[in-house]
C-alpha cells in the first residue's frame, strides 16, 4: 500500500510542478504574490473539509451535504459574532465546529443506524441545511465590518512567534490551522484504532463485522468527522471572506471536496488513501485555479476541469485496482 500511495502522491507532486512550470513559461507575471495569495487562501478551507470527507469515502460512503454544513456553520458563526461579540472568536468557532459535528451526526445516524443510503440521506440534508442557513440568517448577509477584526486576522496574519522569520511570516493562521488539521487527521488515521477500523471497514465490510469491528459506530463517526471538517471550514470561510451571504456560502463546495478526496487517492471502492495524498490534491486544485487565473482562462472553466479530473481519477483508480487484483492472482 505504501508503494501505491507513494505513486499517487508522486504523480500529484509532478502534476503540481508541471502546472506551475507551464504557467510560469506562458505567463512571466505568474509570481505576482497578491494574486497567488488570494487564490491559495481558499486551499485551507478545502483541505480542512476534505479531511473529514476522506474518512467517509474510505468507508465506501459519500457526503454531498458538506457544502451545506459549511454554509450553515459558517453563517451561524458569523451571526453569533455579529450579535454576541462577547463570545469571542474562539467561542464562536467552537460553536460553529460543534454545530458541524451535530449536522454530521444527523447524517451519520440516518446512514449507520436507519440504513438510509448515503447519497439519499446527504442529498436530503444538502437541501435541509441550506434551508436552515436561510432561516437562521433571515436571508440577510453578514458584512465584514460587522465581524471582529480578530477573525479576519486569521486570514491575514501569522503567529506572532514567526513574525521575524522571513517568508514564513507571511503565512497566515488559516494555513497553519489547516496544516495542523491535516497532521492530526493523518495521525488519527494511522495511529488510532478508530482510524484503522475505518480502513478495515472500507476494505472488507463483511470481514470487519465478523472480526468484531463496531461497524455502525465507525460509519456514524466518519460522518461526524465530515461534519466537523465542514463546520471548521465554515468558520474559516467567515474569516477568509468577511462577507457571509446565505445563498453564496458553500454552494457547490461539496463537489470540490469530493474531487479533492478522490483525486488525492481515496478510492471510491473504499479502503485506501489518506491525508497526505488528499492534502497534495487540495494544493493541486489550488494551483490549477491560480494557473487558470494567471493564464487569463475564465473561471468558467473551473467546474468542467474539476469534473473531468474527477472522472479521470475514478477511471484510473478502477484500472489500478483491477491490475492490482490481477497481479495478486484474483479473478477480475
Amino acid at each position: 500500500m505504501k508503494k501505491l500511495l507513494a505513486r499517487r502522491e508522486l504523480s500529484l507532486v509532478v502534476a503540481i510542478i508541471l502546472i506551475v512550470g507551464v504557467a510560469i513559461a506562458l505567463q512571466p507575471r505568474f509570481a505576482s504574490e497578491q494574486n497567488i495569495r488570494s487564490i491559495l487562501l481558499w486551499v485551507p478551507l478545502l483541505a480542512v473539509a476534505a479531511m473529514g470527507q476522506t474518512a467517509v469515502i474510505i468507508t465506501r460512503g459519500i457526503d454531498v451535504s458538506v457544502g451545506s454544513i459549511l454554509g450553515l456553520a459558517g453563517m451561524t458563526t458569523a451571526i453569533l459574532l455579529r450579535d454576541y461579540p462577547q463570545l469571542g472568536v474562539g467561542g464562536a468557532a467552537v460553536i460553529g465546529i460543534g454545530l458541524g459535528a451535530v449536522l454530521g451526526a444527523i447524517n451519520g445516524g440516518m446512514i449507520a443506524f436507519a440504513k438510509v443510503p448515503p447519497i439519499v440521506a446527504t442529498l436530503g440534508t444538502l437541501g435541509i441545511y441550506r434551508g436552515l442557513t436561510f432561516i437562521v440568517s433571515g436571508g440577510r448577509q453578514v458584512d465584514d465590518y460587522q465581524l471582529p477584526k480578530d477573525l479576519m486576522n486569521w486570514s491575514l496574519e501569522g503567529p506572532a512567534l514567526l513574525s521575524k522569520v522571513p517568508f514564513i511570516n507571511s503565512i497566515p493562521w488559516v494555513v497553519w490551522i489547516a496544516i495542523i488539521v491535516m497532521l492530526l487527521s493523518h495521525l488519527g488515521m494511522t495511529y488510532t484504532r478508530y482510524g484503522r477500523d475505518v480502513y478495515a471497514l472500507g476494505g472488507n465490510p463483511d470481514a470487519a463485522a465478523l472480526r468484531g469491528i463496531p461497524v455502525n459506530f465507525v460509519t456514524f463517526m466518519a460522518y461526524v468527522l465530515c461534519g466537523i471538517g465542514g463546520g471548521f471550514a465554515g468558520v474559516l470561510y467567515a474569516s477568509r471572506y468577511g462577507t457571509v451571504n446565505p445563498s453564496g456560502i458553500g454552494n457547490g463546495f461539496e463537489l470540490q471536496v469530493i474531487a479533492a478526496v478522490v483525486i488525492g487517492g481515496v478510492s471510491v471502492f473504499g479502503g485506501t488513501g489518506g491525508a497526505p495524498g488528499v492534502a497534495l490534491s487540495c494544493l493541486l486544485l489550488g494551483v490549477v485555479n491560480v494557473a487558470l487565473s494567471v493564464l487569463a482562462i475564465a473561471d468558467t472553466w473551473q467546474m468542467a476541469i474539476y469534473g473531468l479530473v474527477l472522472l479521470v481519477a475514478i477511471i484510473a483508480d478502477e484500472r489500478f485496482a483491477r491490475s492490482a487484483r490481477k497481479r495478486a492472482g484474483e479473478a477480475v
Binding site: 459519500i62 436507519a114 447519497i119 436561510f134 432561516i135 467546474m303 468542467a304 469534473g307 473531468l308
Partner: protein, 317 residues
C-alpha cells in the same frame, strides 16, 4: 384482493393519500388552488422535472442513480442555442438535435457504468460537474436566446381546455413509460436487474446493454426537458435546472420506487411529482423562500426513505 393491492401498491397509496391531503390543505388555506387556470399555469413549472422523473424511475428501479440529468439538460440547452446563434442551425432542427445530444451524453454515463464497472453514483457525480462545466464554458455568465418561434410552448393550450402542450407531452410520455415499464420485456428486465443484477445475468438478461440503454434514455429525457425549459424561459443559461435533481429523485422515491432497486411505478412517480408541486406551490403562496422550500423537499426525500426502510423491516425483509 384488497390486502394484495395494499401489499403491492402500498407506497403508491401513501403518495396518493398525501397528495389529496396536501391539496386539501392548500385549497383550504388558499382558494386559488381550486382555480383550474391557476393550477394549470403553476403546473408548467413541473413538466420538465416530470420528464426527468420518468426516466429516473427506470434508472432507480434498475438499482442505479443519475445525478447528471439536470446538467445534461443545461448542456443540451447551451449546445443547441450556440449552434443556432453562432453556426446558423435552423431553429426547428433543435427539436431533433436536443434529444440526440442528450442521449449521447447519457450514453457516456452508461458506457462508464456498464463497461467501466464504475458505480453510477460517482460517475454521474463527476459528469454532473463536467457537463454543467462545459455548459458554463460555452455560455459563461451570459444567456443565449431561444429562437423566437420556439418560445412559449407552455402557453399553447389544447383548444377549449386548460391543458398546455408540455402537460399533454408529459401525459403521453407517462403512458408510454408506464407501458414500457410494466408491459414490455425490457421493462421487466430493468426490474429484474434492480432486484438482483447477478441473478438477472444468470437468467440470460443482457444487463450490460440494458444499463447503457437506461442512461441513454435518461439523457434523451434531459434533452426533451431542455427544450421545454428553454421554450418556457426563453433563454439558455449554464445554471438551468441546477438542484432540480433533488425534486426529481424525491418524486421518484416518494412515489414508491425503492432506492435499492427492484420496484417502482410510473403512477407513483407522477403522483409524487404532483405532491412535490402542490407542496412547493403552497409554500410559494405562503411566502416561503425558495431555499426553505428546498429544505422541505429534502426532508420529504429522507422521510420517504426512512418510512419505506421501516415498513420493509417490519415486513421482515
Amino acid at each position: 384482493m384488497i390486502t394484495r393491492i395494499r401489499s403491492r401498491f402500498g407506497p403508491e397509496i401513501v403518495a396518493v393519500v398525501l397528495l389529496i391531503l396536501a391539496f386539501g390543505f392548500s385549497a383550504f388555506r388558499e382558494p386559488r388552488f381550486l382555480d383550474a387556470e391557476y393550477l394549470f399555469d403553476r403546473s408548467t413549472l413541473y413538466m420538465e422535472a416530470g420528464i426527468l422523473a420518468l426516466s429516473m424511475t427506470f434508472v432507480i428501479i434498475a438499482g442505479h442513480i443519475d445525478l447528471s440529468v439536470t446538467s445534461i439538460l443545461a448542456l443540451v440547452g447551451a449546445i443547441c442555442t450556440t449552434l443556432v446563434s453562432k453556426y446558423g442551425l435552423p431553429p426547428a432542427a433543435m427539436i431533433i438535435i436536443a434529444p440526440v445530444v442528450g442521449g449521447a451524453l447519457g450514453a457516456l454515463n452508461g458506457l462508464l457504468v456498464s463497461k467501466g464497472k464504475l458505480p453510477s453514483l460517482v460517475v454521474t457525480l463527476a459528469t454532473m460537474a463536467l457537463f454543467r462545466g462545459v455548459a458554463q464554458i460555452l455560455l459563461g455568465d451570459h444567456s443565449l436566446p431561444m429562437p423566437k418561434e420556439l418560445v412559449g410552448i407552455h402557453k399553447i393550450q389544447l383548444p377549449g381546455t386548460y391543458f398546455h402542450v408540455p402537460m399533454v407531452l408529459l401525459a403521453i410520455l407517462a403512458v408510454i413509460a408506464a407501458g414500457v415499464l410494466h408491459r414490455t420485456v425490457w421493462g421487466r428486465w430493468v426490474t429484474a436487474l434492480g432486484t438482483n443484477a447477478e441473478a438477472a445475468r444468470h437468467a440470460g438478461i443482457p444487463t450490460g446493454k440494458i444499463l447503457i440503454q437506461l442512461f441513454t434514455l435518461s439523457g434523451v429525457a434531459a434533452g426533451i426537458g431542455s427544450m421545454l425549459m428553454l421554450s418556457r424561459l426563453g433563454v439558455a443559461r449554464f445554471d438551468h435546472a441546477r438542484g432540480l435533481e433533488l425534486d426529481v429523485i424525491t418524486a421518484v422515491v416518494l412515489g414508491g420506487a425503492s432506492i435499492f432497486g427492484g420496484r417502482g411505478t410510473v403512477f407513483g412517480t407522477i403522483t409524487a411529482l404532483g405532491l412535490v408541486g402542490v407542496v412547493q406551490t403552497g409554500m410559494g403562496v405562503a411566502g416561503v423562500k425558495a431555499e426553505v422550500q428546498v429544505a422541505v423537499i429534502g426532508l420529504l426525500l429522507i422521510v420517504s426513505v426512512l418510512f419505506s426502510n421501516f415498513t420493509a423491516r417490519k415486513r421482515g425483509r
